[in-house]
């Protein structure tokens, strides 16, 4: 197995009495899209700031691309990042803002037109940043993150302010980047988006890591369900009994605690016992449901 691109061990950050991050330990595998989720104030941005060398941890250690976060100059040239939303000079154009960052990073200006095209900003490249909509500002932030042709892309809420079409474009862009070997570490409140694009997930709550691993492992923690609707509503109780599983009846529909793979078996049991089914639907728990269950949210 390849070495993780991010490795965090017992990382803590305190601001006086306030604990922003507490003994966080997780790894982000190379070449994956890894989601970073948690309620507001969970410590996501603090973690990202530490990974980028912007703040120092109170204790613990973290490595990015095999280098300690105490020496960010050793790895930041290979990282693209957008933290806490886009931040640029309002009186300068989008292209001029990118040129400042490119100059600073020793990056050739020739990549800028392609990047602006990639995020759909070519037409407004010469407009002042202050005239941009929130979505356009977000796109410029993503273009800035892509400037160094990064091995690791760290994005904090990249779809904030984007319309559905924009969100889809960003999703496709991240998936495309992942196919080229770029590791993406992305925090988002849009759990449906995270579920669609991420193979790996880190979940924070109150500064603590409560899950780190493949998304499918997390989803398996939650109970899968099979919904079956007999044509005769009176057969519901009998179907639960015949299945031998735990279940409940909601609106003349049987909700069984069973994995998706049990659906053909249930269909067979029902048929053999003269119960005709109008509906048989395996339901996998969504990431959102699982997230709320493990973070104690609603």
């Amino acid at each position: 197995m390849a070495a993780p691109i991010i490795s965090v061990t017992n990382l803590s950050k305190r601001y006086g009495e306030q604990v922003a991050l507490s003994n966080a330990t997780f790894e982000v595998p190379l070449g994956t899209i890894c989601g970073f989720v948690g309620p507001n104030g969970a410590g996501k941005t603090t973690t990202i700031r530490i990974l980028l060398g912007l703040i120092s941890p109170t204790s613990g250690s973290a490595e990015v691309l095999g280098n300690s976060v105490s020496e960010p100059e050793k790895y930041l040239a290979n990282i693209g990042a957008m933290i806490e939303g886009p931040a640029f000079y309002p009186a300068l154009s989008g292209v001029e803002n990118l040129k400042i960052l490119a100059t600073l990073g020793g990056i050739n200006f020739s990549v800028i037109p392609d990047l602006l095209a990639k995020v759909g900003l070519s037409d407004r490249a010469d407009s002042k940043y202050k005239t941009y909509s929130l979505g356009m500002k977000q796109r410029l932030g993503i273009a800035a993150a892509l400037l160094p042709n990064p091995k690791l892309l760290i994005l904090d809420e990249p779809t904030n302010g984007l319309d559905p079409a924009g969100i889809q474009e960003i999703r496709e862009l991240l998936q495309k980047l992942a196919t080229t070997g770029v590791t993406v570490f992305v925090s988002s409140h849009l759990l449906s988006e995270i579920e669609m694009i991420c193979e790996h997930l880190v979940v924070l709550r109150n500064g603590e890591v409560i899950f780190a691993g493949p998304v499918k492992d997390l989803l398996q923690r939650n109970r899968p369900t099979i919904i079956a609707k007999p044509i005769n509503g009176g057969d519901c109780q009998r179907l639960i009994a015949l299945s031998g599983l735990r279940g409940e009846i909601i609106d003349e529909t049987v909700h069984l605690d069973a994995p998706e793979t049990f659906a053909p078996e249930l269909n067979k049991i029902a048929f053999e016992n003269g119960i005709l089914l109008a509906q048989l639907t395996p339901v996998r728990p969504t990431l959102e449901e699982t997230f709320f269950e493990i973070t104690g949210g609603k």
Binding site: R49, G53, A87, L104, L147
Partner: protein, 263 residues
Amino acid sequence: MIKIFRAEWRKLRRPTLFFGSLFAVGFVSAMITAFIFILIDAPTGNAKEGAQAMVVTREMLALPEGVMIGFASSGALLGIVALSVFAAQTAQEFSLGTLRNLLVRQPNRIELLMGKYISMITFIALAVVVSLISAIAIAYLLAGNAGVSTTAWRSADAIKAILESYGNVFIAAIGYGTIGMALGIYLRSPISAISIGVGWLLVVENIIAAAWKASMNWLPGQLLSVISNGGENYGAALIKISVTLILLVLSFTYIFKRRDVAN
């Protein structure tokens, strides 16, 4: 360092900042020079009143260093421009949140800070040149009407006086700018940094100096004023302000290097 310098100049050459600042310093120098010549025969004189009042006569203006009197007098106002530019350019990185972008692309904080500092010093060097040129141009323009001879202005002594005066005003402007940069880093807000800096130098220091004469020997604004004018106690003022500025640079560099970038 050169990358940071070039990146910083991309911000400094923004038309409103670049032409606005250069126009302002050129205008102020020209105006002060013009007042000296236009009011040469005014009953109230052509220089500031008070205990240190100094009337600039035709004879004084006709000396080799006469061509520089207007420029040297505008040193303090040039200093305020320098303070404002340094404070705004530094503090805005915090208030706009752009510092985090800069640090991701250039994580060596001391190099980033020094690159910014040097680029702003070159900007101020250019502003002082514009101020110098406009002051000299206005002096030549008004000398005829004011009956001031310009013969000595073309002598080797005049060139020496011009270079000396340029050096003094430039050193003073760096001093004002360094104070502005320190305030920008400490306060992280352009408005707070500029208002506190200008308020201290133009108001508070003058009140303290009026109430307690001895304070003029160590208050930074007073010392920078002495350097700008090339006045008495120049050497002592230069040493004192150098020590002050070195301590200031060490202090804000330490803070900039160590402080979390959490906004």
